[in-house]
Amino acid sequence: MAPRWEDLDVGAAPEPRTVGPLNRTDFVRYQGASGDFNPIHHDEEFAKSAGYPSVFSVGMLQAGILATFATDWLGADNVRTFGVQFREQVWPGDRLVCSGAVIEKVDAQNGSERAVKLELMVERVGGGTAIKGWATFAVPE
């Protein structure tokens, strides 16, 4: 069950989710699901020819993990906006921590839905921030 409006005050947060260590199969599974077949995420020779030490994760994979972390908390039907800014790249072997919190409550007005705004983040264990994210979720009556 999604949390109730009364429980979604500023600062309310779900348990952080840790995933990984991510491997090349995770990257390829996501590329198959999304249709983004940029070889830089699975072709070692191509990635090295571009100057990278190895293949690296698809940004939209960690964005997708963060997005479903948020919908698992507040409900798949309730998402209204979801955005990310990519920071550090994610590499094979990385473990990631997804976290987030309510930063604003918006009451229903003029026919608009009541909603909460979230700040979201993906951090690399032992590294820096991979993603800064944000989202808006409707909170049904």
Partner: protein
Amino acid sequence: MVDASAVGTTDEPYEMTVERGKIREFARATMSENPEYLEDPIPPIEPTFLTSVSFWTPPGRSVFSKVKMDLRRVLHGGQEYIFHGPPPRAGQNLTVQTRVAEVYEKEGKRGGTMTFVVTVAEFRDERGMLVAEARSTAIETGKPATSKEGA
């Protein structure tokens, strides 16, 4: 080199059918165990599912290909989705149209001049109502760079 004259280019609208199996595959790939995606016979899409629209883009017709970016030097800067109500569900037929919204340059912290390309895709339902928008920012770096600025 990025072709800045592509700004304002819009592709021909095309259809995207939202499929249950694809939603399930996407949930697995993004490590969700949410029964709303995995068990509902008519599941809603994940917030980032519309990225899979590339499966429906007619070959050679992507507006993105008109910008002529070098894949060896491209990073994804950011992505945003807006849903005008609950997200679309399996079985819906959406009509998609994408435009190149912006091309601009910025000096990178390490990678020389970076060129930003912003595309916006609009998704309409069977009645022509705008149900979702996807805004994507791609960055072509001056040279390959392990980045603090994109993925």
